[in-house]
């Protein structure tokens, strides 16, 4: 084995791949060869580092130098300066937004300082397409421990003791789930992995699968051992081609090594894995719908009971866990439950990965101990809203979650605290809104998503979300009444309480939480007929200021609907009945004479 003095880690996550990281890797290899360094320096394609806003990311070890937003043409400089001459290229370093000066090691940046990476432990560290690298970082060690030193009972006890709860949204204790399935009699049981991550803005599961697929395979095998299942299914959406590719490679390699398949590690335990591709229906993230889809039917939820632990996939006892839940399993086995449950709050243990998005500087993935406050995530890790805008609210849990107002920014992010304020941790989507976002528009946006994604099976969700959407649409057009707000709330509660599955039961959350915290903004829409942020076009009017207009006709010439009239050198006016509020006139006016009211 060659001695390698430096490793160059290049992010191979979907975001950085889209920003040409494969070309960057190729360029590194070319340049290293040109400099004769190809035997001393190794280039590794890794999973996601998390700070997607600054991709493509290149990290050079052993220094831990963190280069951000690298372009193909930058590679030559890094090779010649850093790798050949040992001089860090200051220009390319990730620069903190605050006044730390230039940071060198990624672990000391604000973005990483408060993070604690368990689920993401190997993302951005190993090459996900090389099982040897995973094994070097302890992959399959926990499986070996379980199979040779622990009884299934003991495995379940460890997971129960760790306090791990489902990371897919509902937060059901994982150990208890396994215990139920283990207690269900029958020779055939199944272990399923929910990789049908469908929340807009959430990509933690994708990153784990792309960055550390063996962690999932190992955890599923452990789960199989614990409950007495020999077959696993990974249900993953077809829109994740890179994750699917890496999973396939991982399964193939694990089978080759005897870590998946018949007689694992010579223990007599068999566990096989199959991938099932989902067609991208949000509802298929719901456990019974997911199983129905795996069975080959239209992905729709089934009533519970019977619960999957008793009658799940193909009517057999089944457990289904989310990718991130599985990503914690081997770490817990290797480090002991106490190492996990010492983090977090009383009832929410360990860490949680959040996908930061929306109006925030450091868009990306962060893994933080449960109980970290929203403020720490938004301000310290996320760097606040761009452009100095004021933080208005954050939507946690994607379209199924609630909207948290700025007044509650010090709420800890854990299952109980989120539930208490009408939101959820959910799968970990965290979308930040600033003062420019209209809250009614946001509620409408999320509701449109769940309305479109409703499977159409149960009446409250199918029709209720549509009727709620119609009311919201009416409000954003300035046609809403106070009575509409009451009906909206009544319907929202009805859909929440009476829908068949989690999709419908959570779909009204954005509406209910915004009605709770931003009722004044709703009332501004229906009573004053004003959208305070100017987002709702139906509620704003374009006006020409007579003292500023010089009659140049520029606005009238660009107006696509001929809504502006006026003679040359005279003050122009806009016919509000024709105006479509496209904004062309504002862009064309050189005198700031057109305003939105």
């Amino acid at each position: 084995m060659n001695f390698v003095r430096s490793h160059v880690l290049v992010c191979g996550g979907t975001g950085c791949t889209a920003s040409k990281s494969p070309e960057i890797i190729a360029e590194f290899n070319t340049q290293l060869k040109n400099c004769g360094l190809d035997s001393e320096v190794r280039v590794v394609q890794t999973g996601c580092f998390g700070l997607c806003a600054l991709g493509p990311i290149v990290v050079v070890y052993p220094e831990g130098t963190y280069y951000a937003q690298i372009k193909v043409e930058d590679v030559k400089t890094i090779v010649e300066e850093h790798l050949l001459k040992g001089r860090i290229v200051q220009d390319f370093l990730f620069k903190e937004a605050d006044a730390h000066g230039v940071e060198q090691s990624l672990n000391n940046t604000d973005f990483y300082l408060k993070q604690h990476r368990i689920a993401l432990r190997n993302c951005g560290v190993i090459n996900p397409e090389e099982i040897d690298e995973a094994i070097a970082f302890d992959a399959y060690k926990a499986l070996g421990t379980c199979l040779t030193e622990k009884t299934p009972q003991e495995v379940i006890e460890i997971i129960t003791e760790s306090g791990l709860r489902g990371r897919g949204g509902a937060g059901f204790p994982t150990g208890i789930k396994w215990k139920f399935a283990a207690a269900s009699p029958g020779p055939v049981k199944y272990v399923c992995c929910n990789a049908d991550e469908g929340d807009p803005g959430a990509f933690m599961d994708r990153s784990v699968l792309e960055g550390d697929p063996h962690a999932i395979l190992e955890a599923m095998a452990i789960a199989g051992y614990a409950i007495g299942a020999n077959q696993g299914y990974i249900y993953i959406r077809a829109e994740y081609p890179l994750a699917v590719k890496r999973l396939k490679i991982a399964i193939e390699q694990a089978k080759e090594y005897g870590l998946i398949g018949k007689n694992i590690l010579g223990t007599g335990f068999d566990f096989d894995l199959e991938i099932r591709l989902g067609a991208g229906a949000f509802v298929c993230g719901e456990e019974t719908a997911l199983m129905t889809s795996i069975e080959g039917h239209r992905g729709e939820p089934r009533p519970r009971p019977p619960f999957p632990a008793v009658k799940g996939l193909f009517q057999k006892p089944t457990i289904l866990n989310n990718v991130e839940t599985y990503a914690n399993i081997a770490w817990i086995i290797n480090n002991g439950p106490a190492a996990f449950n010492c983090m977090g709050t009383e009832k929410s243990k360990g860490t949680k990965v959040f996908a930061l998005g929306g109006k925030i500087k450091n868009t990306g993935l962060v893994e933080i101990p449960m109980g970290t406050t929203l403020r720490e995530v938004v301000e310290d890790i996320g760097g606040g809203c761009p452009g100095g805008k004021k933080f208005k609210a954050a939507q946690t849990g994607g379209p199924s979650g609630g909207c948290i107002p700025a007044s509650l920014i010090d709420t800890p992010l854990d299952y109980e605290s989120m539930a208490a304020i009408g939101s959820i941790i959910g799968s970990g989507g965290l979308i930040v809104m600033d003062e420019d976002n209209c809250i009614v528009d946001i509620a409408k946006f999320f509701l449109q998503f769940t309305m479109d994604e409703s499977c159409g099976k149960c009446s409250p969700c199918r029709i209720g979300t549509k009727r709620m959407y119609e009311i919201l649409d009416k409000i954003t057009q300035g046609k809403g009444t106070l009575e509409d707000l009451d009906i909206l709330e009544e319907l929202a509660l009805h859909v929440k309480e009476n829908s068949l599955c989690g999709l419908g039961q959570t779909a009204p959350n954005p509406v209910l939480s915004t009605l709770r915290y931003f009722r004044d903004e709703y009332e501004a829409h229906v009573v004053d007929k004003k959208c305070p942020t100017g987002v709702c076009k139906g509620l704003v009017e374009y006006k020409i200021l007579s003292d500023k207009c010089i009659g140049c006709t520029a606005c009238a010439r660009v107006c696509p609907v001929d809504a502006i009239s006026g003679k040359v050198k005279e003050v122009h006016s806009i016919d509000p009945s024709l105006c479509i509020k496209c904004g062309s006139c504002i862009a064309a006016c050189k005198f700031g004479a057109i305003i939105v009211e």
Binding site: R302, C455, S459, E497, L500
Partner: protein, 591 residues
């Protein structure tokens, strides 16, 4: 059977441990409203009308699928449950085209009944009164109007679970979800068997039979037409339900009286041609048995089954009896024997049947169903439901109608023909004749009870003159598929098989009076209706087809022997394999 003790609205009851909350409530005497639920067929908890309060449960539970447990306390009528149901109902109504007064299901609509029960005074959202029809009518038997569909999916469930066809299902998702065929093909482009079971279970007017009554009215009003009508055995067992009679009432006398009053020139019974069928099919069976013909012989009375065989199991076409269905024999006999007898021009004879069946609407225009002068054997066929509508339209007082007899020219039949209407009836009728012919002895006991009853598949074997004759009876296409698969796999061997398209046979046909879900789920309507036929048979003097004087006369005067050339011309036909995906076949041709 293990039981549990539960409390329903404070009343302690003991119910089976596998009961649902709905069943426990029913046992205690409380009806919980349902729309999507069909016992054993559609247990999907989707409509949310049955939401009920169970102490300690997280939120309201769907009573139709929620299992009882020891000590459970159920409150069927809590304010919370009532409010939830009413709100759900309002949502459903908000997307249901409301034209109740002009809807064919006015006053027999389950949604309408619930709206009344829940005191719906207004629907605050949607525009149900301005919705436009969304009609699909690509088959001769069915109209689907999705603007009235409430997506309960009962039709989907019967099509798949009872009828093995699965030609309809939900398409699209969310608010755009609608019932249709794969790739939104028309029903006429998929392998629908026209059985009409979907109509029978539709709670609203979204699924209805194609109305043929206006053509019958037209014919009745045409002085040049000699309009005759024949009624299928199963119609008398159900028609009374349309007028409030208890399920299982035999309404033959009133039915005949009503038909007379509608102005038909001849009111006859298709039972006569059921008897003819036994003679023809029995002869065919004996011929095949004694000459090494294709066995098992499978009956061909049910046009739904015939379509199913042609589309799904074409390898069994050689097994099908070449006999036309009794309806088609009736038409052919009216335009030949009857027209000759009365000296009528067959072209002036307009033949109508009243059938428990929607597939008959397809059958009358099959290209293999024309025996006389290139005329269709049959002119029109209406369902039991359509006859009831005609009767209502004339303002007849059902309760005051007298009991009348069929007209003598074509009105004499056996008890064997009467039981054609129930699953196993054709087999029993055939056995009564075949056994006597083969043994040359009179049967001591006419009841072949092994083939009676409402089980999906029935088997029996009889020692007939030294030969062990093995028979099987299946009704409903799911059962038929199971039976045929067994035969195909060599796991079972039979000489004679009866298959009926609808579960339970014609008494449960797709054209029969619609019973709402809460009746279907708790009352064995098939057994009650079949009972009406078996009791009539038991009381009849003539119970064997080959002993009916009219049948003997028809053969001696007109047809010659059973299976004669003449009989073949008039009473037999042939079948051919049909593509399972006719739409795709048509596309292939186009390309």
């Amino acid at each position: 059977m293990s039981t549990v003790k539960v409390k329903v609205n404070g009343m302690q009851i003991e119910c089976p441990s596998d009961a649902t909350v709905l069943e426990a409530a029913r046992q205690a005497g409380f009806r919980i409203p349902t729309l999507c639920y069909l016992k054993d067929i559609n247990e999907i908890g989707a409509c949310r009308m049955c939401l009920t309060e169970v102490k300690g449960a997280k939120g309201l539970v769907a009573a139709c699928v929620y299992p009882v447990a020891e000590g459970m306390e159920i409150n069927t009528n809590s304010q919370k449950a009532y409010d939830a149901r009413k709100r759900t109902l309002e949502l459903i109504l908000s997307n249901h085209r409301m034209e109740c007064l002009t809807c064919v299901r006015n006053q027999s609509c389950e949604l309408q009944a619930l709206a009344e029960e829940y005191g719906m005074e207004e629907v605050r959202f949607g525009t149900p009164k301005e919705m436009q029809p969304d009609i699909e009518q690509s088959t001769p038997h069915l109209i689907r109007d999705n603007s009235k569909c409430i997506l309960c999916r009962r039709c989907v469930a019967v099509c798949k679970n009872l009828q093995h066809a699965a030609v309809i299902g939900p398409n699209d998702r969310g608010f755009s979800t609608h019932i249709g065929s794969a790739f939104d093909r028309d029903l006429g482009e998929v392998a629908c068997i026209n059985c009409g079971q979907c109509i029978n279970v539709c709670p609203t007017g979204a699924l209805t039979e194609v109305d043929s009554t206006y053509k019958v009215w037209e014919a009745l009003a045409d002085p040049k037409k000699h309009v005759v009508v024949g009624t299928a055995p199963a119609v008398r067992a159900t028609l009374g339900e349309e007028f409030g009679d208890p399920i299982g009432t035999n309404a033959q006398g009133k039915m005949v009286a009503a038909l007379h009053r509608l102005g038909f020139d001849g009111v006859f019974d298709v039972d006569v041609t059921a008897d003819l069928t036994i003679l023809e099919e029995g002869t065919e069976f004996i011929h095949r048995l004694q000459n090494g013909g294709t066995l098992p012989l499978i009956t061909s009375c049910s046009p739904g089954w015939i379509r199913f065989c042609e589309q799904y199991y074409p390898e069994f076409i050689p097994n099908l009896s070449s006999c036309k269905s009794p309806q088609q024999m009736f038409g052919a006999m009216m335009k030949s024997y009857y027209a000759d007898k009365l000296g009528l021009n067959p072209e002036d004879v307009f033949v109508v049947t009243v059938m428990p069946c929607t597939a008959k609407k397809f059958e009358i225009r099959r290209d293999d169903q024309s025996a006389v002068n290139g005329l269709w054997d049959m002119d029109e066929t209406i369902t039991t439901r359509e006859l009831a509508r005609m009767i209502r339209k004339t303002g007849m007082d059902w309760s005051a109608l007298p009991e009348e007899d069929f007209d003598p020219d074509f009105g004499e039949f056996s008890g064997a023909a009467v039981i054609f209407g129930a699953s196993g009836g054709v087999m029993e009728a055939a056995l009564r004749t075949v056994v006597e012919i083969l043994t040359g002895e009179e049967l001591a006991k006419l009841d072949f009870v092994d083939v009676r009853g409402m089980e999906g598949i029935k088997e029996a074997s009889y020692d007939v003159a030294g030969t062990l004759v093995k028979v099987a009876v299946a009704s409903g296409m799911e059962n038929a598929a199971k039976l045929l698969d067994k035969i195909k796999a060599g796991e079972a061997e039979y000489h004679f098989v009866e298959i009926m398209g609808c579960p339970g046979g014609c008494i449960n046909g797709g054209g029969q009076p619609i019973q709402p879900g809460n009746v279907r789920n708790f009352v064995d309507i098939q057994t009650l209706r079949a009972g009406a036929l078996y009791s009539e048979d038991a009381l009849m003097k003539m119970r064997k087809s080959h002993e009916v004087p009219l049948i003997k006369k028809i053969y001696s005067d007109y047809l010659g022997e059973p299976g004669s050339h003449r009989a073949h011309e008039l009473l037999h036909t042939s079948y051919k394999a049909s593509p399972k995906y006719p739409g795709l076949e048509a596309d292939k041709k186009k390309n």
